[in-house]
Amino acid sequence: MKSTILLAVLFAISAVAQNAPKPPMGPVPRLADGKPDLSGVWDRPYVPDMSKTGKNQEGLSELPFTEWGLAQWKNYHAEEGDYTGACLPFGLVRSINSPMPMQVVQNTKYASLDFEVDNWFQVVPIDGRAHRKQEPTWSGDSVGHWEGDTLVIDTINFNGKTKLDTIGHPHSNQLHVIQRWTRTDLGHISYEITIDDPKTYTKPWKNTRTFTLRPDWEIMEYSCEENNKSLWEGRIKVPKY
């Protein structure tokens, strides 16, 4: 049933998204150092299931689970514990997969990925520095570098407590995420995300997407805690870690 609902949602998104205003046209904006400027409020495809393909999203239908990964996937039941429902951090990949828009604010040293969902953000150094040494976190440690006009963001050191998407595809604390951001023109970003997690998947796999600039939107406040009745009244459970 959950697959049916997710498919219905993907269909609905692709149907109604046709009425979105056309994105602005123009060349790739650039910063003083000549690198592309990814700044803007971006409309992204909602990806509740990374194995599915939809409008502006190409997934991988057969995920290459390891034995451990497949067991995690088969044994996941959201009603037994739903971390986002409990207002715990979405984590990097599920934030990227969320339906609400995000804003990128960038200078020559940093790119700030500001997600509307639960108002989570991640400030990514993009000057080519090495990963920090720190305790694992929900969203991991991200650093960026340029490969031509593509910003490559490399993320490691996850705590392993999140899921990749709403339907609950698993990952471990060995997760390594590579994002490739390429602003192809004023109105679009070509986006690629690679999931590399040898404990959960036998080989790296990826999704490719198109993000669309929405100059008519601003990021809004979105509080998970304001009125999370479902958690308070016991219908949503906090996962046991």
């Binding site: 049933m1 959950k2 049916t4 609902i5 997710l6 219905a8 949602v9 269909f11 609905a12 998104i13 692709s14 149907a15 109604v16 998204a17 046709q18 009425n19 979105a20 205003p21 409309d43 909602y46 509740p48 039941h77 959201a78 009603e79 739903d82 986002t84 429902g85 207002c87 969320s98 339906p99 609400m100 828009p101 509307e116 969902v117 639960d118 709403t166 339907i167 609950g168 939107w217 809004m220 406040e221 979105y222 509080s223 998970c224 304001e226 009125n227 999370n228 009745k229 479902s230 009244e233 016991g234 219908r235 949503i236 459970k237």
Partner: protein
């Protein structure tokens, strides 16, 4: 036909998309248990991560049951042009959705309609949705 598909799509979106945005549908609701409720609105909580609608539903014997139904997040509704003024206490509404798994009088609202059939908090005038 295209318009019909858009309308259906928007309706599904308004129910399922915002919900899934915050948490898994399966964590709380049962997609195999649809419900249709008609009653009197008693309260609207215009809040995140979801709005909540409260209504009194009267059965044939006149007994009143108090129900609560989850809607989308303010953010999505606002981008679609909705405000909290769209519904007020005393309004008669019909809600279609799915029941919570725990057996309480709680639902996820797939559609909310006024007596004239007009949908509230579902779809927007230009059909745009995110």
């Amino acid at each position: 036909m295209t318009q019909k598909l858009l309308t259906i799509g928007a309706g599904i979106c308004m129910a399922a998309l915002p919900l899934l945005a915050h948490h898994s549908f399966a964590a709380e609701f049962d997609g195999n248990k649809p419900v249709k409720l008609s009653g009197t609105m008693t309260k609207l909580e215009w809040t995140n991560p979801h709005i909540w609608l409260y209504l009194d539903v009267k059965d044939e014997a006149g007994n009143v049951a108090k129900w609560q139904c989850e809607g989308g997040p303010i953010n999505t509704l606002t981008r679609n042009g909705w405000t909290k003024e769209a519904l007020k206490p005393g309004d008669q509404v019909t809600i279609e959705g799915w029941l919570a798994k725990d057996g309480s009088k709680t639902c996820n609202a797939r559609s909310v309609k006024l007596p004239d059939g007009k949908s509230v908090f579902a779809g927007s005038s230009n059909g745009e949705y995110r």
